[in-house]
């Protein structure tokens, strides 16, 4: 085995020479042994993004008072106990998503334009992962209980999502098949195959000169990146996998029927906490379900799909169920925050302080696909400088805004739907919020998506 490994190294050097120095840089970086113990001084920065499809029942969700003394709305009630660690945000929107119905999910974290010839752009989690990837075993984790993930590459390609908890667990913590040596051998074969493909395409690239190479360029960068990841995986083989306690393993390494939505949501949150705690990754996205077929929740008497409820057509029963669904989902998010606050980071502080979480939707008023005034809650990350405790309301900053339309009973009236469909404050882009999060993660940039300034918090 030893001999074989060395022969491979020799082969590597040959290939390197042939490929020039271009590839050697990221490779050298990835070959640096990366051990969790060496970077225990400062808390890693982390981010999680959680998506709830089809908007909310906004009449029961909207917080109408702002500032420090705001009153929680009915659906947001479960977050009251985290008041000091959260900021509900109103009045943001993605200009590119307006009028694009359910496609809003695909630009929720990218802020791109949607159109037949528009390509999606990189999502903020992947922008963050570019930075954190060299330090963790896996660049990011993507979970979506139905339909696609929230994560998009710089080429506008959607990353595949994991769904089953056992599958997520295996992807994070499972021992490599056949032991370390077999795994290493497999990785090196893979690197060698990818190398050969790279060399082949580079020869063609040389012949083609500077003209448009179309898809070839993408093939080249993708294979190169896959190759770098293969080498990183190889380097990580020498770092033992984190030990997962028997209790944690039992709780998270199992499959849950979709009829048990609460258990399912909480277990994914547990897996995210576990991934952050063990520093396997620092970036996670979690779609509770796609726009078309997010789960029903039989445990609280909801047998309809979420999409179906959102097109309530004014049906009082449906609106009540939708509110219950919103509250239920927010309650599970609250569970996540509780877990983060109870779990200790490497330095003994709570994970909640080093983890920013954004919960929300790309839609507000589902019945007629209103994509403005997005329901969003930013939580955690106080160690990264976020100051929570207020309701941040961009609607109120708009000069034309005459206040929320409240009926005689103090409840919001259906006139509020207009606020959820057409932005009151056209400058209040959601990308400004994504930019804030990117900057706090340490991404050095002044812009993200279609941001026009950064949100101060």
């Amino acid at each position: 085995m030893n001999i074989q490994t060395q022969s491979w190294l020799l082969n590597r050097r040959h290939t390197l020479k042939a490929l020039g120095s271009f590839i050697s840089l990221p490779m050298l970086e990835c070959m640096v042994p990366l051990r969790a113990s060496e970077k225990a001084v400062e808390s890693p920065k982390r981010s999680a993004f959680i998506y709830l499809a089809n908007g909310v029942h906004s009449l029961n969700y909207q917080i109408t008072s702002s500032g420090k003394d705001y009153q929680f709305s009915r659906s947001l009630q479960p977050l009251e106990k985290h008041r000091d660690a959260i900021t509900p945000i109103s009045g943001l929107h993605h200009p590119g998503a307006l009028g694009h119905h359910h496609n809003c999910i695909s630009v929720w974290l990218t802020g791109a334009k949607i159109g037949p010839s528009d390509r999606n752009t990189i999502s903020v989690d992947q922008k963050m992962a570019e930075m954190t990837a060299p330090h963790t075993r896996y660049p990011s984790m993507e979970v979506a209980l139905t339909q696609g993930s929230l994560a998009w590459t710089a080429d506008g390609v959607q990353l595949p999502a994991l769904r089953r908890c056992s599958e997520i667990f295996a992807s994070l913590f499972e021992e490599p098949k056949g032991g370390k040596m077999a795994q290493r051998r497999a990785l090196r074969r893979k690197a060698s195959v990818l190398d050969a493909n790279l060399a082949e395409v580079r020869q063609l690239e040389k012949k083609m000169g500077a003209e448009d190479k179309g898809r070839m360029e993408q093939y080249l960068t993708s294979v190169r990146e896959a190759e770098i990841r293969t080498r990183r995986a190889d380097a990580w083989l020498d770092t033992p996998l984190p030990t997962i306690s028997e209790a944690d393993r039992k709780r998270t390494n199992r499959d849950i029927a979709k009829t048990m939505a609460g258990d399912y949501f909480r277990t994914v949150y547990d897996l995210m906490v576990l991934a952050f705690q063990t520093d396997v990754t620092r970036v996670a996205t979690f779609s509770l379900g796609g726009e078309g077929d997010a789960f029903s929740i039989p445990e609280i008497g909801i047998t309809e799909s979420r999409h179906q409820l959102s097109h309530h057509g004014g049906d009082a029963g449906y609106m009540e169920k939708l509110t219950n669904y919103d509250t239920f989902a927010i309650e599970q998010f609250s569970y996540f925050l509780t877990r983060l606050s109870e779990t200790k980071d490497l330095n003994g502080k709570a994970l909640l302080g080093s983890t920013m979480s954004l919960f929300g939707s790309g839609m507000c008023y589902g019945h007629s696909h209103g994509n403005a005034n997005l329901p969003l809650v930013l939580a955690g990350g106080s160690d990264l400088g976020l100051k929570h405790g207020s309701h941040l309301d961009f609607n109120k900053e708009a000069k034309d805004f005459g206040g929320y339309s409240l009926g005689a009973d103090g409840a919001l009236t259906t006139a509020h739907y207009q606020v959820c469909s057409r932005p009151v404050n056209t400058d209040a882009h959601m990308s400004n919020l994504l930019l804030l999060m990117a900057q706090r993660m340490g991404v050095e940039t002044d812009t993200f998506g279609d941001s026009n300034k950064v949100i101060a918090l």
Partner: protein, 824 residues
């Protein structure tokens, strides 16, 4: 050419093929003065966004009119958006405010230019063009290459293909990320594992009777039957609302991944159908819930109790596998409503079943499943036995991987030759030895490290299968050329007609330079007659009609209780089977719009209210006027895919029809549309049409909607899942449900009174239908958007198609033989 242009454009109407026309650069310069949108800009926009004032930093006079280059496409998009949403021109500008019609004409005209530009950009080919295989094509290709069954659509395998107007294989849409590369690598590993398994396994067979499955051998039950003198054998009564094992891991004895492969399943069964109830439907697959399985095998059991039938299927199984039966019907023996009932039927020893006439005798105290006339109360399946056999490997499959791996004692030269032979098939073209140098080097490195030949050679095969030459269809050379080479043409033809790589005969024809003239015709006819052409029918019909949208928004169970997974699956098959019939009988295109027949199975006939067909599967059934069906447009799939699960969506139906049938997508809606609020409970019930008309009073919406909506409103007699109705059901409001009004006028003014009449208006535009169909077919064949440069070639295809009375197979043949197919 240039002098013809103004003529063409002056005749442009809403229905003209604006989607296709690409304005060449020279034309843009020459025709700038005549572009209708320029006059609008001059009157309403340039004053504030021109040399005098530069509001919002925008100078519209300086925006690039070269739409093909698309440098200012996003600014132009913004211009449309602003006018469309009524923001611009500003309202205070009273005397110069354009009329609704002027605004609509402006938006339509400018949008058409932008679309042409986009199409041209999507159609632009670099010197070497790469078109990635879709998942389906990958699957077919590895099967035809190595005889390996691999399902890329399974979770964790290849990523979903990005669709462009339903098409799965548009090169500019199919992109690649590092995670795709990883998955292709893993896919290649799996394919090779299956082609060259470490240990081979012989086929095994297991036969389980009802006694084995249901009665634990059935000794006691048989004794009971003997006591009563009952001669009929034990049967397994399966009812809706439960799942039962159809295959367990231990049935075959020790079973591992090496036993994965193709299995033959045989089942003898019959079914009962309650009067006014559904035919028993059996789903077999992996269990997904308490009462559900993912339908790997789905079929209706039409055989009556006294005449059981043997049903046979072939299915690929990853071993060890556990599968379950599930009887699917809307009326289930429900756990919540009748636990005692269900428990009694499901209890192991208790309930004995042989025949409906003997249940009362055998189970006097159990809940009854049949009325006194022997009619089932539920849709049930009566199973006699089940048999699994596999893994089955055919000689054809074996022959495909024969001689791929060199013998153990092969010299480096022999190894190189083997690899070259394999690469030529995998890459679908002649391959030079030096192109394989890198892969051979990997092989030699492995050998030097002490690997056995077979293992070392795997690295080289893996390289060939993850190469861009395999996962993409590569066309062109570094030095640009216009025509395809013979092997490129062979590849294009085989992916058009077979959704896969060329076979050896087609390879040979390409190699010997015979892909032209009469021998090309002969080759295309051979391909059309081959069984693999079935893949074209499945793939093209699905993509053209955007059937991926069927069930995307699952219908509300409360509003549409008859809708279930099997109905959805049957609906999805109907247009495909219809296309198959049209294609194999080479019928004229008119049938897509209107026909006095359709293809239906028992479930669909049930749904449409037509007599039950003779066989269990799809068959041709004739339609009467009272059925309110005929052609593609009145199929459940089409009517459902344009709805949102709760309501029918006339606007979506109009847009679908414009795109798919007329080949002309309308301009995009403005963002910022005000919300439509639900019908208040205190006001009279109103149809969606009434509400839309109110919406259209908004000046900014009216002009475009006046053109789109009638195309959709014509189908208002069909609800969100395609059921016929004369009144629209409105949830809240006062009074009766309102009557439907499907009448309207085509954008050119021709009136229609209902859906049937509308079909006649469409048929009057036969050439436009034919043209749109040809364009869709060419988009599919060329894997790119159609552009203005293609017009002459399209005209030639259309002339040929028209000569043959627009018969479907003839159109496909004309496309395959066209000059367009031979161009890059």
């Amino acid at each position: 050419m240039e002098s013809l242009m103004p003529f063409r454009f002056s005749f442009r109407s809403f229905f003209a093929a604006t989607f296709l026309l690409t304005v060449g650069f020279s034309f843009v310069c020459a025709a700038r003065a005549v572009e209708p949108f320029e006059a609008f800009l001059k009157t309403h926009c340039i004053r504030c966004h021109g040399p005098e004032k530069e509001k919002g930093d925008l100078r519209i006079d300086q925006l690039s009119r070269d739409f093909k280059l698309g440098a200012d496409a996003h600014h132009w998009g913004e211009v449309i958006e602003q006018v469309n949403s009524g923001e611009m021109p500003p309202k205070k500008d009273k005397e110069k405010k354009p009329t609704q019609e002027e605004m609509a004409a402006f938006v339509t005209n400018l949008d058409a230019r932008l679309k042409e530009g986009r199409a041209a950009r999507m159609a632009a080919r670099p010197a070497v063009a790469h078109y990635r295989l879709s998942r389906k094509e990958y699957q077919n290709t590895v099967y035809d290459l190595l005889g390996v069954r691999y399902d890329p659509a399974k979770p964790g395998e290849l990523n979903e293909d990005n669709l462009w107007h339903g098409f799965e294989r548009i090169g500019s849409e199919l992109s690649l990320s590092p995670s795709h590369v990883d998955r292709y690598y893993r896919a290649a590993e799996q394919v090779l594992d299956r082609a060259f398994p470490a240990a081979t396994s012989e086929a095994r067979k297991v036969h389980m009777t009802a006694a084995d499955l249901r009665y634990n051998g059935g000794k006691d039950q048989q004794a009971a039957l003997d006591r009563f003198g009952i001669k009929r054998p034990l049967r397994y009564l399966m009812f809706p609302g439960t799942v039962q094992p159809a295959l367990s891991t231990n049935w075959f004895g020790k079973t591992g991944p090496e036993h994965s492969g193709l299995y033959k399943l045989r089942i003898q069964a019959s079914g009962t159908r309650p009067p006014d109830g559904q035919i028993a439907h059996l789903s077999i697959g992996t269990r997904t819930g308490e009462e559900t399985v993912d339908g790997m095998i789905e079929f209706d059991i039409t055989a009556p109790e006294d005449k059981p039938q043997v049903y046979e299927f072939q299915v690929f199984l990853e071993m060890p596998a556990t599968l379950h039966f599930c009887v699917v019907a809307t009326d289930v023996v429900d756990r919540r409503a009748g636990a005692a009932f269900r428990n009694a039927l499901a209890s192991r020893g208790g309930y004995i079943f042989t025949h409906s006439s003997e249940t009362l005798l055998l189970n006097p105290n159990a809940p009854q499943m049949f009325d006194d006339k022997g009619n089932g109360l539920f849709s049930t399946v009566l199973l006699d036995w089940i048999e699994w056999e596999g893994p089955l490997v055919s000689e054809t499959e074996k022959s495909r991987r024969k001689d791929v791996v060199p013998p153990d004692d092969a010299t480096t030269e022999v190894v190189a030759e083997h690899l070259q032979r394999f690469a030529e098939r995998a890459w679908r073209r002649p391959v030079k030895q030096e192109e394989l140098a890198e892969f051979l080097k990997s092989y030699r490195d492995e050998r030097e490290a002490g690997e056995k030949l077979v293992d070392a050679y795997r690295v080289a095969l893996q390289g060939v299968l993850t190469s861009r030459h395999f996962i993409y269809i590569v066309e062109g050379d570094p030095v640009a050329r216009e025509r395809l080479t013979d092997s490129e043409l062979a590849t294009r033809l085989s992916y058009l007609l077979w959704s896969s790589m060329p076979d050896s005969a087609l390879f040979a024809a390409a190699k010997s330079g015979k892909l032209n003239g009469d021998s090309l015709k002969k080759e295309v006819d051979r391909m059309l007659a081959d069984g693999k052409a079935s893949r074209f029918i499945d793939d093209f019909a699905r993509q053209w009609l955007q059937l991926n949208r069927v069930g995307m928004f699952p219908p509300d169970k409360k509003l549409y209780p008859v809708y279930d997974a099997w109905l959805e699956e049957s609906m999805r098959s109907e247009p495909v089977e219809f296309f198959r019939e049209m294609f194999s009988k080479n019928m004229p295109i008119d049938g897509f719009i209107e026909s006095d027949w359709t293809m239906a199975n028992a479930r669909l006939c049930d749904f449409y209210g037509m007599p039950e067909p003779k066989s269990g599967g799809f068959e041709r059934v004739s339609l009467k006027p009272g059925d309110h069906r005929g052609g593609l447009l009145t199929m459940g799939a089409v009517l459902g895919l344009t709805s949102d699960g709760t309501r029918h969506r006339p606007v979506h139906r109009g847009v679908w029809l414009s795109e798919v049938v007329l080949g002309k997508p309308p301009p995009p809606p403005p963002a910022n549309v005000p919300a439509i609020e639900p019908n208040p409970p205190t006001s009279p019930k109103a149809t969606l049409r009434d509400k839309l008309e109110a919406h259209r009073e908004d000046a900014n919406c009216a002009a475009c909607h006046a053109k789109i909506d009638p195309l959709g409103l014509a189908w208002d007699n069909y609800d969100a899942i395609g059921q016929w109705r004369t009144r629209e059901k409105v949830a809240a409001g006062v009074g009766e449900d309102p009557l439907i009004n499907p009448a309207g006028a085509m954008p050119d003014g021709r009136a229609f009174k209902d859906a049937n009449d509308f079909k006649q208006r469409l048929l009057e535009d036969r050439d436009k239908l034919g043209r749109a169909f040809i364009e869709h077919l060419c988009t599919y064949a060329l894997r790119r958007a159609i552009a203005f440069d293609d017009q002459d070639d399209l005209n030639a295809i259309q002339a040929e198609a028209k000569k043959n009375n627009y018969r479907i197979k003839d159109i496909v043949r004309a496309v395959a033989l066209s000059d367009l197919m031979k161009k890059r």
